[in-house]
């Protein structure tokens, strides 16, 4: 987590999309996905338009298509599920190439694939153009409870430290000739997990001490505030607004 992944996900840049305040981007991505999910699956053309809209954003953000498509792979388990749907779903059947497929299942598979992919693409674009730190500020600005933001912030700060400790423990295990091969070795892995928990918890206590020593009394001082101008909001919300128009057309046509 933390730095390693972030750096793989985040693409440094100075595009207009990178420059937008994080909370406007979060709101835009969320609203866009909401609109996509609310679109009738029969309006196939609408999903094509959504894909074009996202492509425009990606172009503006200078996120290369290969990067975007590569990140979409996270969806693969559900693609497998979607592929199964036409075979197991109920309802009237059509015969394609000698296979008996359910019409509803085909629609369902299409629905999940189209909406899921657009959702993932929107999230990937958001993560690719927004730094971790900014994302947290954005969530804070969008009135996520401060305690939750703090927990997320600590998780991101220490995610690396903890996974690093886990890696060192694995190296220590392996250099003593241990290799997890099967169920027999679960005990050893569980002991590592237990040790990792104790280390994490004790570090949490030490961090708390360090915070208290610098005057922490239960609430985090607000150091950074992000603000957005009307124009920035308009820019960010152009995406979900365009999508909404498409969605409404999809319902009417």
């Amino acid at each position: 987590m933390g730095a390693g992944h972030t750096h793989r996900l985040y693409r440094h840049g100075h595009s207009p999309v990178h420059g937008l305040p994080p909370h406007t981007k979060l709101a835009a991505a969320f609203l866009f996905v909401v609109v996509v999910v609310s679109t009738p699956r029969e309006a196939m053309w609408a999903f094509a338009v959504y894909a074009v809209l996202l492509a425009v954003v990606a172009y503006q953000a200078r996120v290369p298509a290969r990067f975007l498509l590569g990140r979409l792979l996270i969806e693969v388990p559900f693609v497998a599920f979607a592929v199964l749907m036409p075979f197991v779903a109920e309802g009237e059947r059509v015969h394609v190439l000698g296979l008996s497929l359910s019409v509803n299942g085909l629609w369902g598979a299409w629905n999940v694939l189209a909406k899921g992919t657009l959702g993932v693409a929107a999230s990937v674009l958001l993560a690719a153009t927004t730094e971790l730190r900014e994302l947290l500020l954005g969530l804070q600005r969008l009135k996520l409870p401060p305690l939750l933001v703090q927990i997320a912030s600590f998780m991101i700060r220490y995610g690396d430290v903890i996974t690093d400790e886990m890696r060192r423990m694995r190296i220590a295990r392996e250099s003593r000739g241990f290799e997890a091969k099967g169920v027999r070795h679960w005990g050893v892995l569980a002991k590592s997990a237990g040790a990792l928990f104790i280390r994490s918890y004790e570090r949490g206590e030490r961090v708390h001490l360090a915070m208290v020593s610098r005057g922490y009394a239960g609430s985090m001082p607000v150091i950074d505030e992000v603000t957005a101008s009307g124009a920035q909001w308009r820019h960010a919300l152009a995406l979900p607004c365009a999508a909404l128009v498409v969605c409404l057309l999809g319902w009417m046509l």
């Binding site: 559900f78 109920e90 928990f197």
Partner: protein, 347 residues
Amino acid sequence: MHVPDGFIDAPTSAVTGVVAAGALAVSLRGARRELDERTAPLAGLVAAFIFAVQMLNFPVAAGTSGHLLGGALAAILVGPYTAVLCVSVVLLMQGVLFADGGLTALGVNITDMAIVTTVVSYAVFRGLLAVLPRKRRSVTVASFVAALVSVPAAAVAFTLIYAVGGTTDVSIGKVATAMIGVHVLIGVGEAVITALTVGAVIAVRPDLVYGARGLRQRLQLRVNGALVDAPAPTAPVAARTSRRTLWVTGLVTSLVLAGFVSFYASANPDGLEKVAHDKGIDKKEKEHTSAGSPLADYGVKDVSDARLSGGLAGVIGVGVTVVAGSAVFWSLRRRRGDDVSPVNTGV
């Protein structure tokens, strides 16, 4: 089990969003009691731990491996409220940063993986501890069973959500069979690792195992005789009343909203109505091979006029979620602002 966007329809996603927001609000308050002002750093570190542990693959058989979901482990180690927060934060970050689980499906994912697993496992855990003899071994056994039950419980919860708001007509019987079947297997792995991990922690730092605190305190009383900390029993009683009001408020809000939104949802041909009426409607449809499953055959849907109402439901549902969610958190923040905690000064 990270559900992507579009898998569950909009109204159901909205309802689970409200449920998740309500549960988070309750947990935020509860976690403050579990950890007081140390909540932020400790819960953050535990969330990082859960995140790391989810990446710890354990080999199952040649070539395949599984990983922990961690809900039961977190609930037993740090208490149910903190666990809900930690797992939710992990899910939130996975959704926002790694596109793992859809943004609109966040409510579904949190309800399913953060709330159901922790609440079920903790309930089972405490229930067993109450029955079993007061020994360390009982804690391990209880952890095993709790984790074993928690994973299929999440699968059942998912199946229920799917039954209400699934976007495809895969029969509920099939979904349930597949989901629960697979997750019973996963549950066994989860149970073994969770029990062993709890056992490992309890051997070194028994004081850190939240679920076994009662056990430890009782042991201490016998040894130290006079060293009984008197304020301990009074604090939970005082806390319970405020917790109860919050629970009731949260529950009523969730229920009212759930009812309200699903009223609209039922106008959607993909939604509740189907499940409610499936058997009656499709008598005229020809029987399929899989008719054995309890909720098999669905009718062909009438898309004509229900379409618009469905879309309306989506928009209204989401609007309601946003308003309700912010209202819950707003009121919570106000409340927290009011009782400027005298507890916090104590270090």
